[in-house]
């Protein structure tokens, strides 16, 4: 038996010529690429932001640790702040931090008696003891402010008095410390400090 085939209608003459098909392909390809590259750029930007954030946090954490380590090397009596270095302005982040985060001590009621002087805390080359606030240039070249809080507390489980040291690190932007805390560290120091 003879096989019968479906006979399609003939293409219009304009399409039959296949002229301009290359342009259409190119437009579609360009659209795909544009969307893909756009998404990629967004990811790159986000990545860049994230890496920068991580870098700042890492540097801030290093500075906080350095500051804590300074106090761990001091005798108990010398774990204190110079009262003249505690910011007096009510709007300074050092003072306002307690309002937004109760685990950060208040600016008042701290252990003072240090005599280091405010000038020594302005831009020290190494972590300085007794400074309530001090400004540093971090390893990444950015400016940071390291705030220290020292309060005398009795351990909740009982015992003699210890000193709780809290270090908070902020970035300095346009000459002012940011409200955002990039790193913080808290420990307590017993009267037998430092380890022999």
């Amino acid at each position: 038996m003879r096989r019968r085939f479906l006979i399609l209608p003939r293409r219009p003459a304009a399409l039959a010529g296949e002229r301009g098909s290359m342009l259409i392909e190119l437009l579609i390809a360009m659209t795909f690429l544009a969307v893909a590259v756009g998404a990629l750029m967004t990811i790159y930007a986000s990545t860049q932001l994230s890496l920068r954030h991580t870098s700042i946090e890492g540097n801030a954490l290093t500075l906080a640790d350095k500051q804590i380590e300074v106090y761990k090397t001091l005798s108990y009596d010398n774990v204190r702040l110079d009262a003249s270095t505690i910011p007096s302005s009510g709007t300074d982040p050092y003072v306002t931090a307690n309002a937004s985060d109760s685990t950060i001590p208040a600016a008042t009621g701290q252990v003072t008696g240090g005599t280091v002087g405010a000038s020594a805390c302005a831009a020290p080359t190494t972590a300085q003891a007794e400074c309530a606030t001090q400004s540093w240039t971090g390893p990444d070249g950015r400016a940071y402010r390291v705030d220290s809080y020292i309060v005398a507390v009795t351990p909740p489980e009982g015992g003699r008095q210890v000193k709780a040291v809290t270090v908070v690190v902020r970035r300095v932007e346009s000459g002012s410390p940011s409200a955002q805390i990039w790193a913080r560290a808290t420990t307590t120091i017993d009267q037998s400090n430092p380890p022999q």
Binding site: M22, A29, L33, A36, T103, G158, R160, D190, P194
Partner: protein, 519 residues
């Protein structure tokens, strides 16, 4: 009708030729390439995003690790602060102290345990392990802390420096009779001297160093004839905080030399009205009774009953230590084997030589009676606790070394020296009898006495050593021996204890522990 193989080959060849023709035209290649490039970029972007996410996650964990570490360090500091309040010497090796829970610091939480890992002669060592937690991250650190040991001696109560110490702030302590008190007197209440003696309280010697001090927290009431000291031989000092009354009329206590008025009948080298802070030392009868296995003494000779029923109830009844037959019995510490090293006290009596030997702490759950004819001398240093009362009934003597029994009953020959041997007798007076200690007839007891309740002397019976009591009714004391440092185990005796001085973290012992914990 089946298609022949030759025809199939022809169809396939035509199809291949059509594809080749299409490829030769290169139509749609740009789209395919674009898709490939997009796919590659997508894979790269996904990888990058994954990398950054992983990096952030890892850094976040690093940050928590760091904070957990500082919190764990805080736990170590707080543990040392807590341990410093304890006396390490009172803990056995292996004893454990812990934080008893989890506590917050700086947004994290910590807990700690401390184990006594060394019980040395000169110092102890404790190993502290603290765990800090920050979010899901925990860190554990461990250190050893040393605690040096040293002996601390608590001096004997100042009450033992007085011949008579009356600790009850109310009532009047009566001094009567015709024999003077030749010893220092401390009365927290009032002192009433209504006897017939010309001199009621005076120095024992007419010349040489003086030794008698009088302290009256309340008022001193003097009758017609008694005096404190004399114009010729004043006592060393008189401290009368309340005031002086002579025959019921208020007088100025101070009778300075050259003042013939002798207004108050109180003659002393110095006068004061500044109160002292000495109080009657407490007697831990419960603790002392619980410290020994009194019901089961080990006797090498004879027997002696210290207790009948392991209950502190005066079950022995009346007893004497100077029995008709000899005994030599040792009592051991409660809960420990009856072997050498665990002895608490030994009491021995030789009925033939009338010699009593005492050492350590002895507790008898009864009433001590010195009956007529109970005469003996003792050696050694010991604290004799009597759960009930103490009484003498004439012609009794307990002579302290180096004195010996006198020629007549109820007397001792020589003078007792408390540094050669001393016995303290504590009348616990568990039933609050009155008096707690009664002296009748003729008797000399060379011992220091501690009495709960009333101490009463009458006749010619007296206790030679110092007497600490709540209240007293006194006649004279013809002999007196100072025992300012009574034997160990006596209420208010000097005590030496081992105390700890907590030091620093022992060098080289700080370490971080693995996740599984410190071994």
């Amino acid at each position: 009708m089946a298609v022949q193989p030759a025809s199939r080959r022809a169809v396939a060849q035509r199809a291949l030729r059509a594809v080749a023709a299409r490829l030769a035209l290169e139509q749609g290649v740009a789209l395919v390439l674009a898709l490939l490039v997009v796919a590659a970029l997508s894979v790269t972007a996904a990888g990058l995003a994954l990398l950054v996410t992983s990096n952030e996650h890892a850094f976040g964990r690093d940050r928590q690790e760091e904070r957990a570490f500082n919190v764990a360090e805080a736990g170590i500091s707080n543990a040392v602060a807590n341990l410093s309040q304890l006396n390490s010497a009172s803990y056995a090796q292996g004893a454990t102290v812990s934080s008893g829970g989890t506590y917050s610091v700086g947004g994290g939480s910590y807990s700690w345990t401390a184990t006594k890992t060394l019980n040395g002669a000169a110092s102890d060592a404790w190993t502290i392990t603290a765990t800090g937690a920050q979010g899901p991250v925990t860190r554990q650190v461990s250190v050893q802390v040393a605690a040096a040991k040293s002996n601390v001696t608590k001096p004997a109560s100042g009450a033992w420096a007085f011949g008579i110490f009356v600790g009850n702030p109310s009532g009047c302590t009566d001094v009567g009779g015709s024999v003077a008190l030749t010893l220092s007197v401390f009365v927290l209440g009032d002192l009433c001297m209504n006897g017939s003696a010309v001199n009621s309280i005076l120095e024992p010697n007419s010349t040489g160093p003086k030794s008698v001090d009088l302290y009256v927290k309340g008022n001193l009431y003097v009758g017609n004839t008694p005096t404190v000291g004399t114009t010729a031989r004043r006592i060393r000092s008189a401290t009368i905080v309340g005031g002086c009354f002579l025959k019921g009329v208020a007088k100025i206590c101070n009778n300075p030399p050259g003042n013939p008025g002798n207004a108050s009948h109180v003659y002393a080298d110095t006068y004061s009205n500044v109160p002292l802070t000495i109080s009657k030392p407490s007697a831990d009868a419960v603790g002392t009774y619980a410290s020994g296995d009194w019901k089961n003494p080990v006797c090498s000779t004879g027997s002696f009953t210290f207790d009948n029923d392991t209950t502190r109830n005066t079950s022995v009844g009346d007893f004497t230590v100077m029995t008709g037959s000899s005994y030599n019995c040792t009592v051991y510490k409660a809960g420990l084997p009856h072997v050498s090293g665990n002895e608490l006290g030994t009491l021995a009596w030789n009925a033939a030589t009338k010699q009593l030997t005492i050492s350590g702490v002895i507790y008898v759950d009864g009433n001590l009676k010195f009956n007529g004819g109970d005469n003996g001398a003792y050696t050694g240093f010991g604290a004799l606790w009597v759960n009930g009362t103490v009484s003498t009934n004439g012609n009794s003597a307990l002579c302290g070394p180096p004195s010996v029994l006198g020629a007549s009953q109820g007397t001792c020959s020589g003078t007792w020296d408390g540094s050669v041997g001393a016995v303290t007798i504590t009348a616990v007076n568990a039933n609050n009898s009155s008096p707690g200690w009664q002296m009748n007839g003729t008797a000399e007891i060379d011992a220091a006495a501690y009495v709960n309740g009333l101490f009463s002397e009458s006749g010619t019976a007296f206790v030679t050593g110092p007497v600490i009591t709540d209240s007293a009714s006194l006649t004279g004391t013809p002999k007196h021996t100072d025992v300012t440092n009574p034997p160990p185990g006596t209420p208010g005796a000097s005590e030496t204890s081992v105390v700890s001085t907590w030091g620093h973290v022992i060098k080289g012992t700080w370490r971080q522990c693995p996740v599984s914990g410190c071994p």
